[in-house]
Amino acid sequence: MATGTEPQQNSGGVRSRTRAAIAAPHLRTDRWWLAPAVTAAGLFAFVVYSTWRAFANAHYYAAPYVSPFYSPCLAQNCATMHAGPNADLFGSWWAISPAIIILIFPLGFRLTCYYYRKAYYRSFWASPPACAVAEPHRTYTGESRFPLILQNIHRYFFYAALLVAGVLSYDTVLAFRDQHYRWGHMGLGTLVFLVNIVLIWAYTLSCHSCRHIVGGKLKHFSKHPVRYQAWQFVGKLNARHMQLAWASLLSVAFADFYVYLVASGVFDDPRFF
């Protein structure tokens, strides 16, 4: 039965010759573009902010707080931090911002993260832009070939992210000092660091690779009751992976911005005790 539209040219995808002859690439009537647009705007804003801060090489330390973007600080040109997370591993030849040395690890962790992959494949790559909305690419091989096959190294970035989260935990402990490095004090910045480190750990542990490593790879949970418990705990966090990804992204940027404001003298850190 032929009415109206003739068979489609074999132009691929939903317009393939054997499929229902519908010219429109999609027929969705809801605001399907909103989620990818908001995601793209959010990620783009973070990239702009973090690039500025990473290359600024200034205002990243205001005792006792060190920006999470610059921790651990591994070059000779780092600001002096009393008992802080700095170690001169790279020496004096490292001339640019020391943030670049360490940021590669959390950046790699987030770039290869299963949630962020979904987010940027959809919002930047339009592959697909939304469900049942035709993508614009003529060919597609996904993560089966170079370079996207490299996404499979996510678990190694997870291991690195554990170390970075450990260092940021140390920074949070150091934040219980005052500006003269005396212990037993707390300021608004301490609270900001506390919230940030809780979210960083929650995001890191909710990782799909973590879920696999702690127990997901097992065939018999009954033979490994402790790992089964751990897998269930990570599974609960994992169900919130997207929310934790965004919350920790915002918190780490805010923690850095807080340090920037205090270090640049915009205001003094309010002390609680």
Binding site: P7, V14, K118, A132, G216
Partner: protein, 256 residues
């Protein structure tokens, strides 16, 4: 009971061509889209082809695209639409159309046949299988699948790229591989069948870019991406891309 007249656009045609046809049709409280399609058949378009069976969201027959979204017609309430909205119903756009709302979903049966079945453990006869609930929980989630093929339909790997149908089994059948690989009694490995490796090498797991549309459309609310595809990807990484796991397996062979 209140009723109103809704505007529908229903795709009618076959592989030779077709078009969206306009209808005005009565809608009553509590009805679903499939009820309206049946009313169209009864009153205005007796030759309208539609595949359906249980009307309860359990047989997976009445899959279609409603306002561009892959859904079961029997589980889509009319009350989710506004009364002045024109509702568009088309066949699944990933599979060859047969007629009107009916498509040829044979691609899925072909892919189903390609996945090797459960391998019974040696030394255990029927009725002798014993499993702990925690060991079968994961596989049981995937057994909820009603094979409506909405996930296969919405997956852009084959929806937007016909040429990938050869290499890619689709989320439903990758989930089947995951189900068997996680099954506590599946003895595939003992017979030399490495499901983790075949997921990547033979069923095209690498094509999946985990954009979660399969999960979004699943009427059984199976977490296909988080609980099947990503764990399967991680298992494939164990086999193919993680030198430490490979080294560990060589040094100390152990059963998990």
């Amino acid at each position: 009971m209140s009723s109103y007249e809704a505007r529908f656009k229903v795709w009618r045609g076959d592989v030779q061509g077709g078009d969206l046809e306009d209808f005005k049709v009565e809608v009553n409280d509590g009805e679903v889209v499939l009820d309206i399609i049946h009313r169209l058949q009864a009153t205005q378009a007796p030759d309208l082809a539609v595949r359906w069976n249980c009307k309860a969201g359990k047989c997976g027959s009445c899959s279609a695209e409603i306002n561009g979204r892959p859904r079961l017609m029997c589980m889509t309430r009319m009350s989710v639409f506004t009364r002045d909205e024109t509702i568009t119903v088309t066949p699944l756009r990933t599979f060859p159309v047969i007629r009107d709302l009916v498509t040829d979903v044979g691609f899925n049966y072909q892919k189903a046949r390609e996945v090797p079945a459960f391998v019974p453990p040696a030394g255990l006869g029927p009725g002798e299988y014993r499993m702990f609930q925690e060991d079968v929980d994961r596989s049981q989630e995937f057994r909820k699948c009603i094979e409506c093929f909405l996930c296969q339909n919405t997956c852009h790997v084959v929806r937007d790229h016909e040429e990938n149908k050869q290499a890619f089994a689709g989320p439903r059948f990758l989930m089947r591989v995951a189900e068997l690989d996680m099954h506590p009694l599946d003895a595939a490995e003992e017979t030399g069948l490495d499901r983790k490796r075949t997921a990547q090498d033979e069923y095209g797991l690498g094509y999946c870019n985990i954009t979660k549309c399969c999960t979004e459309v699943c009427p059984e609310d199976i977490k296909i991406t988080d609980n099947a595809l990503i764990p399967l990807k991680e298992r494939a990484v164990d086999r193919k891309y993680d030198p430490l796991v490979w080294l560990g397996s060589k040094i100390r062979r152990r059963s998990s």
